[in-house]
Amino acid sequence: MKNSHAQTGLDRTVAPPLLPIEHIQFVAPESSTLKNGAPLYWRYGLQNQTSKIELHFAAGSAFPDPLTASLCAGLLINGSKNRNAKQIQKALDSVGAYYDVSLGQDNCVVSLYALNSQLLKAYQIFHESLFEAQFAQKEIDQLVHERKQKFKIQAQKVNFLAQRLFQRNLLAGSVYAQQIQLKDFDRADRAAIQAFHVTHYLNGLQKVLLIGDFDQNIITSFIHLLNAYKMFEGKRLPFTWKPDLGAIHHEHPGALQSAVRIGRPLFNKTHPDFIAFSVLNTIFGDYFGSRLMSNIREDKGYTYGIGSHIVENQQFGYFVIGTEVGEASRTATFHEIQYEMERLQKELVPQEELELVKSYLLGQLLKSADGPYAMLDLFANVEVHGLDLHFYETYITEIKAVSAEKLQELAVKYLNWGEMLIISAG
């Protein structure tokens, strides 16, 4: 190609000028209300033929029996009155559809993916399977057997052990602390699964997210089918917890690394400190250049990775640091984490670092808002807390405005080593 005269002007030591993000457009989905009161949100205007329907059921593992919730979720797409599991799967295959059943603590989300010409057909198959679910004893037995084997493998992983120990202690006193134990699998109960299915699925649809370019007839057909769900009448107990803080080490003989979880109760998006704390959390441990990564990975080489996160549920939130470190570096890692917490309490975050993190967060928000799928996820992430897309306008304003002093104040309030639950397994 022709040589550019501009080349002579290149001074590689000088960074190109940066432009700020001027504007991010947040677009709310279309919405309508199903017969049982659940909202249907719909996004269209895609650049391609993909489509997806996501059904949120009040069927999470925190509803008193995690084993029943887990088995019921595992058997949702497993045959109907006239078709067995294999025939249902074949029917989904014939329209080229994929599905995913994701069991969380608050709810269970079923996602169906297909080309937009096939999604309604895929949903019809799922609908038949869900409404006519048989829960045959031999299917339950098969699933229980597979889950047991998987559980035994998981129980060998220090990461799994540390995560469970962390949740059990942090969420102590709440239904969220319940966990499936290996022996629980032997008391799988078909009647309980059937009852759970009626209360939490057939009567448990909370919302539907639909994405794809469909004409109105297709939307009407979806709504017609979705109107079959009944109102949720199950009860959710009011949330209370009594975290067991302190330090616990779980000895796992032969481990080469320890998995670490350190954290404390916090809050979710509904709390006034949430946005400013997100900035503090990013500086501390939530991006590649964070204090934890710079110190514990990039300076000391103790770990392949370390990070901190705010975990949100519908009724609560918590703060957690996670890593896996060589056995010899475990104590030293604890010291460095404590040091980094105290440094944020004692010293103001330098202006340059603060500006960098602000720009980084706004860039990441721009990315999270890129395209209909991402935008619908952004919407769902606030809708679940009873908020709307204005949250992100506030997020931008607050991030731009937050000062080093404010962050120090939050560090003093929330990042006290003595108030942490400290778990290690290794």
Binding site: R12, Q89, I153, G301
Partner: protein, 411 residues
Amino acid sequence: MIQFERFTLANGLRVLFHNEPSTPMAVANVLYDVGARDENPNQTGFAHLFEHLMFGGSKHIPDFDAPLQAAGGQSNAFTSNDITNYYDVLPAHNLDTALWLESDRMLSLAFTPKSLEVQRQVVIEEFKQRYLNQPYGDAWLHLRPLAYKKHPYRWATIGKNIEHIETATMDDVRAFFAQHYHPGNAILCIVGNFDLNFVKEKVDYYFGNIPGKEKIIRNLPQEPKQQRFRKKIISRKIPSDAFYYAFPMGGRMDASYYLADLLSDHIANEKTGLLYTELQRKKKLVSEITAYITGSLDNGLFVITGKLNPGRTFEQLDAALWQTLDKYTSRPISKSVLEELLLKMQTAKAFQDQGLLNRAMNLCFFELLGDAQFLNEEADHYARIQPAQLQHFAKAIFSKNRCSLLQIQAK
């Protein structure tokens, strides 16, 4: 169909540009034609260790990540046995920052003994975290040298053993850079809402004056055709016995690649595939089983792997597996099943192609294969497959004499 433009700089840098008007973001993806297969057998794990060093600062820029983060972007990379791929995703109006950073580290790295020391430790922890401290984590460290005797695929990207990483020196690092990191050995792809002339001007501005170098022609030892069945048994503290059957297949550009891909999808299909219905449900020999292909550039592997149920033996599984494969190859699959498989593939591809980064990586990868346009021709290759071809291929690949079997026994 992914539209793109292509141009080459005088120094040999191949550049692809894909215009996507709907996004405020941009991707700069740089693929270097170097992977673990290019390593010295006595210095394995080097391509991957080197990938870590690429974030340790370059000649004129002390820190790679900070300027990109300040521009609202982020970066990462991966190393495979074939390639090393770096990518930056950032707001489109700050594209310059990514090009400035990528061009400077292509020009020259600023290695320091400290950065080598730390990244060596980080990679050792990665080795433990991903391979040694996980149940079944070291399976591929044993399967590779069983299935490959000559070709450098006989070691994993992380390396043969930790010692190779522990003994890497500054001189090794410099030599590796000099040999593999230059414009002629790289492919750059830019995706975003830009004008072609703008992209040409920017790329030339940042990359144009990096000196070109002769591309070294790769001359790897090819794997001789396997003649006899191979087996290795190892014992580990794990809850269930595991098995890995590996069958040699062609490379990524071989016509049989598409057959192997479709075949693995078919026999491993959830709930309807033969491996599941016969071995997991009917005969209750396994608690899980699947099949996949490695998809490597040179001759790859078709793998069937799973875990035994308690009380079942490797011998029972072995007899039943061969019986199942025989049954599969005894008759061609129906036209309608083939159409279903293709529709599923088409759906999966439509979802993958949504992502900007995915498009950028794929364009670079296919350009490395010879022409980025191959990406748009993939679907036709699959669509041309006939049931009889698939059957014929399955018969040929599932040969006991050409099988390598790794068994991991519970201690």
